[in-house]
Subunit: 285 residues, 2 copies
């Protein structure tokens, strides 16, 4: 923008679905606060949802949290993605929130359009992008389109598709504890153990800052699967529905306030919890 | 027995439940073959089951597989556990098979009796002990009595109880992929990361030999959770239903023929699969 300063990327915030909308609303409150440190303009993309009032409901919540402007972008077709007022809104927004629904509605309507390009560019320039449930799945380069339930990986347990592509470092799955999705996340990693698997419980968000530190916000856990030391994947030769052999994965279960650095791949417990446990006389029996 | 040779412990064989009973019957066939290398005497303990014909059904299968003698031990009370003919049968058996049902029926009826003592002694002397489903849960020192479903660990997700105690190196869970049990297994490990977590899919068995090598047999996967490098567990201070923070677990997903050594904690892919994958031109895209 005429200065020589490098732009700082905005937060990327996948949410595991079913985030609190009354009461504590820790996740939405934190997102609103991030946007308020700018001009307080939030754009809502309800495209994943087939329900009429999804966008309006979030607009009301953000307004209730003190957000200056909460604008619903009614994108319901690929041609909507070329509308100047939509692109203008995205150009001025401090944060964008993608609602839940079906991630294939997002990828089929937004994929390759000016809206997708603008979201990527504006995120690089500092705009925060949050998505819940289907909205979370869509954020990354490699999106889990659908899959089967179950804890252990099977050859055809998951179907991947290209997503929005804000980052390719992680593969996201949501409703994680609630819908038994470890197996499909592991299957996705088994293809190419380049990415890190991030399984988000409901009412749980990963706030991924510009320095690539992921912080857990909300009431559930985030399951981090780090395959960087993987010694073996049998994915090249397994047949339909066979179990997949994966040797030497690293696993972290992170709760509120805990962090994971996507670059160094170091996990850390929430400081306050770590201190309470170390200070306890009952740490280990 | 009057010789100076050290006795060699028998196999310990937890099965994830729902093992094939017609067709390939790989698991039961392998167990029968182990017993056949002795005198071919198998004792069946159907105590976990509330069904009348569970024992007879297994006796029929083993007889069909060529087992010389398959004897059902009708233990239905603690006083049955003192009956001389029951203890005599166990003293002469090459292998014992514990059926599925409810592991609390096993622990409440067998716990502390002569049958439990005899099973432990005879396993040390070379008798093989297999158990499926509830029978598998019961084999170890720390038994998962019951728990809640879900992939991530929660403070009260699991209830442990003392089991038969053939080994304390592992904590077993079964129906693993099918019933979404990673969270409760992780919760069990979070209390004291001494043991190794072994999650058995249905129709999948761990054949744990006298040298502490575990080999996977059957159609599913075994999920091995090795907490030996665990850096942090928040279990000392989590409140009811809070997620548990666990940092730096090791995870292996093992399929048929793969092995894990309980002492060295080294996992290895099935040789034939490893060779096929390394030899492939499509190993990684």
């Amino acid at each position: 923008m005429g200065t020589t300063a490098e732009p700082v990327r905005g937060y990327i915030i996948p949410v595991g679905g079913a985030e609190e909308k009354i009461g504590d609303v820790a996740i939405l409150r934190r997102f609103a606060a991030l946007c308020d440190s700018g001009a307080g303009r939030v754009a809502i993309i309800p495209t994943a949802s087939a329900l009429e009032d999804t966008g309006a409901r979030y607009a009301e919540i953000f307004t209730g949290l003190g957000t200056r402007e909460a604008i619903v972008l009614p994108i319901e077709s690929r041609s909507d993605c070329a509308r100047p007022e939509v692109l203008d809104t995205l150009d001025r927004a401090d944060g964008v929130f993608l609602t839940g629904g079906n991630q294939l509605r997002l990828s089929t309507m937004l994929g390759g359009t000016e809206v997708a390009k603008t979201l990527r560019r504006r995120n690089r320039e500092g705009m925060h992008v949050a998505g819940t449930s289907a909205g979370a799945a869509f954020l990354c380069e490699h999106m889990i389109a659908f899959g089967k339930e179950g804890a252990s990986p099977r050859a055809r347990a998951v179907t991947l598709a290209p997503g929005l592509g804000l980052t390719n470092r992680i593969i996201i799955d949501q409703h994680f504890r609630q819908r038994d999705r470890l197996g499909r996340l592991l299957t996705a990693l088994a293809y190419n153990p380049f990415a890190i698997g991030i399984g988000l419980d409901e009412n749980t968000a990963a706030f991924i800052g510009p320095d690539e530190t992921l912080e857990v916000v909300g009431g559930g856990a985030i399951t981090v699967v780090d395959p960087s030391d993987l010694q073996f994947s049998s994915m090249a030769r397994v047949r339909k529905n066979d179990p997949v052999c994966l040797i030497n994965l690293k696993l972290h279960l992170l709760d509120r306030g805990s962090t994971f650095h996507l670059h160094t791949r170091v996990a850390a417990a929430a400081l306050v919890i770590a201190e309470r446990v170390s200070g306890s006389h009952h740490a280990y029996p």
